[in-house]
Symmetry: C2
Subunit: 303 residues, 2 copies
């Protein structure tokens, strides 16, 4: 019992520490754009500093540490900020009336509800450019290029954005499990896998490096586990708990794990993916204990 609660304390401390690093970094970004319209910066900060879990940046920073980067290396911090910018942009656009049409996000009215649709579209657009900007400027050029290639590939047409297209196309039609897995792998998995790979690349890992291969496998299994848990929480939680609308998947005819294979098999599959994720980390030994704790948190979380 006490070991579980110690582990929980440890992972919460880890998330808080990495979260503070990236939040401070993101909060300072507006000062890089003194000539930008104030209202645009306000809309960007509204979504960016709304207090998400900062899971993706924590994965970047913890993977970088596990792979031997110095604490808070500029490349790792920029990559962590960049992935949160990309993630936040995708939420802002996903919530738009023409997309998922959501009113609530991170416990507050969505961006377009506060700033109007045009500004929400432009704030999202701006966040994408900022993500690539900070990596190009802050990381050493030899590392910036592969970091940006990774980030762009994971978020682009064959990654996250492709997954959003598949998700919309799949509404109100029955998908088979492999199709649902493809949606998940792209829409959520690509960015979570990239988080781990970015950390390794920021630490100096090149293609073919054992550590890079290990965290890539880890990220893939973790990404799938994350999305299964997300599907489960959409059914079992209240809006107050999640800070966003719940039960919306069913209402919108979205395909989910519980809907497709049932609740209990979904829990088992999440646990199986967690085990596979943890197994992938073997080559990193004790250096990956933080990543292991984060992975358990992802699957056992209730928000």
């Amino acid at each position: 019992m006490s070991s579980t609660s110690d582990a929980t304390t440890e992972v919460l401390g880890l998330l808080r520490s990495h979260g503070e690093t990236v939040s401070a970094f993101l909060g300072s970004l507006r000062f890089r754009y003194p000539d930008a319209p104030a209202r645009l910066l306000e809309a960007i900060d509204y979504s960016l500093l709304a207090g998400g879990k900062r899971l993706r940046p924590a994965l970047v920073l913890e993977t970088a540490r596990a792979c031997g980067a110095p604490l808070a290396s500029p490349a790792a911090v920029a990559a962590a900020g960049a992935i949160e910018l990309i993630h936040t942009f995708s939420l802002v656009h996903d919530d738009l009336p023409a997309m998922d049409d959501d009113d609530l996000r991170r416990g507050r009215p969505t961006s377009h509800k506060v700033f109007g649709e045009a500004m929400a579209i432009l704030a999202g657009d701006a966040m994408v450019t900022m993500a690539f900007h900070i990596v190009a400027v802050d990381a050493p050029p030899a590392i910036a290029a592969p970091l940006i290639a990774e980030l762009a590939s994971a978020s682009g047409p064959a990654g996250m954005i492709g997954g959003q297209v598949l998700d919309i196309d799949g509404e109100n039609q029955a998908l088979a499990l492999p199709q649902l897995q493809d949606v998940h792998r792209k829409k959520t998995g690509a960015l979570l896998t990239a988080s781990c790979r970015l950390g390794a690349i920021a630490a100096g890992c090149a293609p073919g490096d054992t550590k890079l291969a290990a965290v890539t496998e880890f990220g893939r299994h973790l990404g799938l586990a994350f999305q299964i848990v997300d599907d489960i929480l959409d059914v079992t939680s209240t809006p107050e708990q999640l800070g966003k609308a719940t039960n919306k998947d069913a209402g919108r005819g979205k395909n989910t794990y519980p809907g497709l294979i049932g609740m209990e098999p979904s829990r088992k599959e999440a646990a199986r993916q967690l085990t596979a994720a943890l197994d992938s980390l073997a080559p990193l030994g004790a250096d990956a204990d933080g990543l292991r704790a984060l992975a358990r948190f992802v699957v056992e979380r209730d928000v």
Copy 2:
């Protein structure tokens, strides 16, 4: 008379040659994303291969040549493709119902009219990631990082996207000339200036380089001239000539040069900016003759 028509022939040949280079490059991009949803790639290609003037890529490629880059160097071609991706993404999002709400673009129905709003938003988003992706992958890392920093800065919150915000905010309120110039400098000027700077950086120019400073000045004056001419054409052309709605600035209460200072003074200011642009190119000597021809074309064009 014959020298004017020779010059016209020359610049049309230059535009065609650079246009073919970048169109071939853009047309091949889909093969980099074999795992992307087909409908998304279709929406991207619909806007990207609709046959624009390719002015920005031509400026990148011609500036690169003027600054000594080998013809069709991978860095210059990637930067040329990237700037066209950013430009096209901005048109697709600008045309959305929540923004300018336009039905016609490059002589065809706008993206959201054909593919729906959600897909138009996502296709635009995807194009931004692709722009940074191709530069990160195709250019040597030491050049990729400054190219991406330039591209992201010019398109971001203090550049093009900031200009779109100012443009929307300025509708139906009278702007003073300095405010209108600020809108133009950001909304159109930033990307045109960046086109010239990208070419110089692709050719190996570092900050402080005389050639980079010269093409930066050139780009600033050219950008302003371009937007003044755009404002004039919106009043004097038909939709058939421009391939998009005209007279929409006045209908929407937009601030324009002719509206603010009158038609004839606007023409004079465009000519004055052209002269300043040409003067900026002195340090490049005869190597910049192609850029000079492109600049004259921009101001004297009727589409």
